[in-house]
Amino acid sequence: MKLDPEARYAKTHEWARWDGDEIVCGITDHAQESLSDIVYVELPEVGDMLEKGDVFGVVESVKAASDLYMPMGGEITAINEALEDAPELINQDPYGEGWMIRFKPSDPAEFDALMDPAEYEAFVAEEEGE
C-alpha cells in the first residue's frame, strides 16, 4: 500500500493534503485497490459548501459504487475534470493525477484530527484483520 507522507487520512479512505491555503483531496491507494478498476466518478460543483463527513461524490468501479466523504468541511474551489474521461487515473496515481477535489477549508484545525500515514496504515491493518 502506497502512502503520501504529506497527506492525512480519513477513516472513509480519503486523503487530504495542503496546497497553499487550500486542501487537495482524493481516495487512498488502499481504496482504489479495493475498488479495482474505476469506471466513473461523480464530483461536486465548484462553489458547493460541504461539511466534514458530507458526501461530495460517488466513485464507481466494475465491482461497486461508493460514496466519497469530505475529510474536512469547506468550499469546493476546483474539481479534477480529467477524471470524467479518464477515471483510471485514480487507479494509476491516486495521490497525484488521480486527485478529485480542491477546497478552501472552513476549519483548518480539522486537518490535525485526521490520521497520519502511520496511524492510517495501522487502521487499515486492523480493518483487514476484521
Binding site: E42, E45, A64, A65, D67
Partner: protein, 444 residues
C-alpha cells in the same frame, strides 16, 4: 415429496423461545366463533359447470369486441398482428421478469436490447432503458431523473395541464415527501412564465391529452434557457408520423407503449418507455441492456450500468425500480420489428386521416363543433349540446357504441366536451354510424 421447511423439532424450539405451548395458543385473541366460521359455500361443481357460469357472467359485459369504440384518453385500441402473440407465448420468452443471472438468458437480453434500440429510433433519443410499468410511472421516473441531474438542488417541476391527468397524479404520488414544488399551466406562454432557475424539468405531452400537437421547439428552448430538462410524454404510434422529440430538443422522452402490440388488457399490464440523452445515462432509472463481445469475440448482451440500481446503490439508487415490464416490452419490440418503419407510418397515417374524416363529419352536425385551435392526431375535442354522460349512455344503449371521454371530469372549462379517439381499428362504416347517432342527439 411435501416441502415443509420447518421440522416438528424446529417448531417446538420456536414456540418455546416465545413462550407458548402450541400454535393454537397464538390465535387465542381471535374470538372462538370467528376462528373457523362456517362459510356456507355452495356444493362444489365441476370445471365444466364453473366455465358455463363464468361465461354467462362475462356475456353480460359489453366489450370492444362487441361494438365500435371511440374511447382513447391514454389506452388505445390498435391492431395486434398475430406474430406478436406467436413470439410472446414461446416458453423461452413467457415471463414478465428480468431474469436473475441475466447473462444466462441471452435471448431475453437480446430482445430487450432490440426493444431499446427501436425505442431510440422512434423517439430520436440516444439511450432507452429496458422499460417501466406504464406511461405514468415512466413520467414520474423522468422527474426523478431530472432531480438527480440537478443533484437534488432544484425543487420545481413545471407540468403542462394537458399531460394526462392520471400521469400528473402519479407524479405527485411518486414524489410526495420530497418537498417538490409542482406547478401547472395550460398554455405555452404560461408554462414559460413558470420556468425559473429552481426548475428541474418541464413536462409536456405530444400529442397532448386533447390530441393536439404543435412545434415544441420554443418550449424546449425556454426550458434549456433556465437549465431545466425538457421532458416529452409521447404517443409512440404518433411518432410514426410526427417529428421525433429528440429532433426538437427533448432531454427525456417517455410514454405509454401499450398501443404497440398490447391489447387494452383490462387496463394493465401496460408498458412505460423511457429514453434519454447519453449524457444522462447514469441518472437514468431502470435496467439497461448493453451489447458487448465475449471472451471469444462473439456478440453478447449484458445488463450494464447496474451500479445505478437499487440492489447495489440502495437508497442512493437512481430509482426504486429494479425491474422492467419484460413481456409487454417484448410485445412492443415484435410489433415495431414486424411493422417496420413503413408500417409504423402507415398506422399513424390511417389514424390521422380517419380521425380527420370523423372530425369533419361531426363538425358539420347541428349542435356539435370540433375544437380546431391546433392540429390534432388521432383524438379530438367535440363540444356537445348535452352532457357527455347522457350522450354516452344513449350511444351505448341505443346504438351499441362506446363513446368518448368526458373531459369535464378533469377540465372544468371543458364541461360538455367529449374527447373522441379514432384509430385504424375503426372502419369507415363505424365512423358513419357514430355520426348518424350523434346526428340524432343533435336533433333532440
Amino acid at each position: 415429496m411435501p416441502f415443509i421447511p420447518h421440522s416438528e423439532a424446529d417448531r417446538k424450539a420456536m414456540l418455546e423461545a416465545i413462550g407458548v405451548r402450541s400454535i393454537e395458543d397464538l390465535f387465542e385473541d381471535v374470538p372462538e366463533h370467528a376462528r373457523f366460521p362456517e362459510l356456507r359455500l355452495p356444493r362444489g361443481v365441476s370445471e365444466m359447470e364453473v366455465r358455463w357460469e363464468l361465461e354467462t357472467l362475462a356475456q353480460a359485459n359489453f366489450t370492444t369486441a362487441d361494438g365500435p369504440c371511440f374511447l382513447g384518453a391514454g389506452a388505445y385500441r390498435h391492431f395486434v398482428p398475430a406474430v406478436v402473440d406467436a413470439v410472446l407465448r414461446r416458453g423461452e420468452f413467457y415471463t414478465a421478469y428480468t431474469p436473475y443471472q441475466p447473462e444466462i438468458s441471452q435471448g431475453t437480453l437480446q430482445a430487450i436490447f432490440e426493444y431499446q434500440t427501436m425505442i431510440c429510433e422512434l423517439t430520436g433519443m440516444e439511450v432507452s432503458n429496458a422499460s417501466h410499468y406504464d406511461g405514468a410511472t415512466a413520467t414520474a421516473e423522468a422527474v426523478i431523473t431530472a432531480l438527480n441531474v440537478h443533484r437534488r438542488k432544484r425543487r420545481r417541476v413545471v407540468l403542462s395541464r394537458y399531460v394526462h391527468p392520471e400521469y400528473r397524479e402519479v407524479v405527485r404520488t411518486y414524489t410526495q415527501g420530497m418537498g417538490l414544488e409542482i406547478v401547472e399551466a395550460e398554455e405555452a406562454a404560461d408554462l414559460k412564465g413558470l420556468l425559473n432557475g429552481e426548475t428541474a424539468c418541464l413536462i409536456v405531452q405530444y400529442p397532448d391529452f386533447l390530441g393536439r400537437f404543435e412545434d415544441l421547439t420554443p418550449l424546449a428552448e425556454a426550458a434549456h434557457a433556465v437549465g431545466a430538462l425538457f421532458v416529452v410524454v409521447a404517443d409512440p404510434i404518433a411518432l410514426g408520423l410526427l417529428k421525433p422529440p429528440g429532433e426538437f430538443g427533448a432531454d427525456v422522452v417517455v410514454g405509454e407503449g401499450q398501443g404497440m402490440g398490447a391489447g387494452l388488457n383490462f387496463g394493465g399490464p401496460y408498458l412505460g418507455f423511457f429514453a434519454t440523452r447519453m449524457k444522462y445515462v447514469r441518472k437514468m432509472a431502470g435496467r439497461l441492456v448493453g451489447q458487448t463481445v465475449d471472451a471469444e469475440g462473439k456478440r453478447g448482451f449484458v445488463l450494464t450500468l447496474s451500479t445505478r440500481e437499487q440492489h447495489i446503490r440502495r437508497e442512493k439508487a437512481t430509482s426504486n425500480i429494479c425491474t422492467n415490464q419484460g413481456l409487454v416490452a417484448l410485445a412492443a419490440a415484435v410489433y415495431m420489428a414486424a411493422l417496420g418503419k413503413c408500417g409504423m407510418r402507415k398506422v399513424a397515417e390511417l389514424c390521422y386521416h380517419k380521425a380527420h374524416y370523423a372530425a369533419d363529419r361531426i363538425d358539420a352536425l347541428d349542435g356539435f363543433s370540433v375544437l380546431r385551435d391546433k392540429p390534432f392526431f388521432k383524438e379530438f375535442v367535440v363540444r356537445c349540446p348535452r352532457p357527455v354522460q347522457e350522450i354516452n349512455d344513449y350511444l351505448l344503449d341505443e346504438w351499441g357504441i362506446i363513446g368518448g371521454y368526458d373531459l369535464g371530469r378533469d377540465y372544468p372549462h371543458l364541461e360538455n366536451h367529449m374527447l373522441l379517439c379514432v384509430t385504424e381499428m375503426n372502419p369507415r362504416e363505424e365512423i358513419d354510424t357514430l355520426v348518424e347517432a350523434l346526428g340524432e342527439v343533435g336533433s333532440w
